[in-house]
Amino acid sequence: MKNDTTPISRTAFMEELRRYQKGSVTRRHFLGVTGLGTAMAVMGGALPGLLPTRARAQDIGDRVVLATWPNYHDPANFDAFAQQTGALTQVNVFGSNEEMLAKIQAGGSGWDVFVPTNYAIPTYVMADLIEPLDLSKIPNYDAAAFDQRFATAGTIDGKVYAVPKNWGTTGIAFNSTKTGGIVDSWKTFFDGARDKFDGRVMVHDYQLTTIGNALVYHGFSFNSVDPAELAEAEKLLIDVKPHLYAISSDYQPAMRNGDAWLTMCWTGDGKQMNVDMPEIGFALGKEGGEIWSDYYAIPKDAPHKDAAYALINYLLDPNVNATEALAHGYPVADSRTNALLPEALLNDPILYPAAGALDPLEFGAAVTLTDPNRAEVMARFKSA
């Protein structure tokens, strides 16, 4: 089994990944060609303990409801989960943590599993919307295997409320043929918006990153809630607004058709655009910006708790997690999963930037999400 697949070269792998992401080859073909399938089969066979064990339909019910982000899973994994456990996964897809929080806070969401980002978790705990997880029901979660930077936010007061899914950054996507090169600073981003990129720049439609990066432009913390610093950020944003192409978190279409040249951008989107259009690059702001990590958590009022645990456990299986990563292109913090991923992917500068580039980045803070002044700054910016 070991030697029947010749290791694939880096360029050939990236070529295959590109074809796979474009949908011109099937997952099976991709896994076969890259040798990943073999690796996974070997792993699965060698470590049966990693396979989901709670595999009786009557144990967990016939369905589980997952609230997550778009393009964040491999649908084939849900099929496999249904075959193993008899529970169909119903996927609800959301656009921001604020939306998810609003829906859970109102009650009656009907969700069993959801995917909060690091800075949202303390709020869920404070509002008594999630409970500590029963880790005995998630044997596939091996805390030691995870990079602590992307796992600690799930633990509050020593209790594990959420287990890590993926991580990423919020940087700058630029169309290098239009911008004339790499844009890797928020100074160029906001000054250029009022100058040579007039009418071609996009910012996010939620306060955390838009205000955060405007703060970073002035040399303040991404998470600042200081009124004086916020006032400076507001002044910058309102000054820039007439020159913006749009205030929208849906920036891919405008970037792809050339109407927008520059945008605030998440890792996965940067990767997806770069794969299809190499002239679109992704860089981190050298002054700073956001680094984030997503987690799996279970709402307190989840109707199918057993199924929720089974699903999280299944998705944390390194074999499953590796196929997930191949489908969505976001970095994983689990060393067991990374051991299964091809080196080319692990060396990809968009997914895994050099450690130095990550240094100035900050994790969003809980108060950044809920600060009422930041919300008002955003409202004034948008209605100006």
């Binding site: 604020e98 404070m126 205030i247 058709n257 050339g258 955003m378 100006a384």
Partner: protein
């Protein structure tokens, strides 16, 4: 006879009354209660009695101003485009095609407004109409993410709501009236002004009111075609409920919006009553 009639009426009205009580009055009462409450530090609602939320309303002045400007303009534009079409469908089209053409007005709306708005993003974006205009010499025209784009989206999105009531009003127009007018030597414009237009007035008013009212609460079209730069009260509400989760303030904005609408409707009703007083053939909401 009178007795059974009353009982029959009560029977016919009961389902609607229950519906309104459970899903209109109860939720509205909740919003009103919330608008006097306070926001907890992490968002949401905490019981209380304060007028602070109402005192804070000027913070959304810009949104109210934008809405009260673009909503009337959008309504007028939709009316001007819808009227001739409704007239054509009601009066000029033969019976065999009428239903088909009428339903064709509504069929595009079975495709999600979201998808259709994205199509407009392409049409108004750099590779759509501006590219076409550039090829005939008008360089660098940017249409997307502007109030104009929002207006196009509004007219597109609300056209059937304008066409249908006008159509319903015009459909019972007795063509013999027009023929008689023509026989008596009235020029077409005169029979239009004196016969057709008054007859269609209920439809015009209903349609305009519907569109205007829906525009007052619109948020998707400004968000998608205005690129987030055109900010309506609806957008303010969405942000308050879904982003900052300031439910009490959001409730106060909602109450203010509803009050503005009630005033508008009251003025409208008065206008209609005055209009109807002169003509016994007009009855309105």
């Amino acid at each position: 006879m009178a007795m059974t009639q009353t009982r029959g009426r009560a029977l016919l009205l009961t389902p609607a009354a229950l519906w309104y009580a459970a899903l209109l009055l109860l939720p509205l009462a909740v919003v009103l209660i919330f608008s006097f409450g306070e926001r907890t530090p992490i968002g949401g609602y905490a019981p209380g009695f304060t007028l602070a939320q109402y005192a804070n309303l000027p913070a959304r002045m810009a949104a109210f101003r934008n809405t009260l400007t673009l909503a009337p303009v959008g309504t007028l534009a939709a009316l001007l485009i819808a009227y001739p079409l409704a007239y054509f469908l009601a009066v000029r089209v033969s019976v065999r095609w009428k239903t088909l053409l009428l339903v064709l007005v509504i069929v595009p709306f079975w495709t999600s407004i979201l998808i259709r708005s994205y199509a407009w993003i392409f049409l108004l974006g750099g590779k759509g109409l501006p590219a076409l205009l550039a090829s005939i010499g008008f360089e660098d025209i940017r249409l997307l993410n502007s109030p104009f784009a929002v207006l196009v989206g509004i007219v597109y999105g609300y056209l059937p709501l304008m066409v249908f009531p006008i159509y319903v009003a015009l459909e019972k127009l007795d063509l013999r009236l027009l023929e008689a007018a023509a026989d008596l030597g009235a020029p077409p414009w005169r029979s239009f002004v004196q016969i057709t237009l008054p007859l269609s007035m209920p439809g015009v008013l209903t349609g305009s009111m519907l569109v205007f009212i829906l525009l007052m609460g619109e948020f998707l079209i400004p968000a998608i075609l205005g690129g987030g730069k055109v900010f309506f009260v609806g957008n303010a509400l969405v942000d308050l409920f879904l982003q900052s989760r300031n439910w009490p303030f959001g409730s106060a904005v909602a109450v203010a919006l509803v009050v503005i609408m009630l005033i508008t409707v009251a003025i409208y009703t008065r206008v209609v009553k005055r209009y109807a007083a002169g003509r016994d053939d007009v009855a309105m909401m």
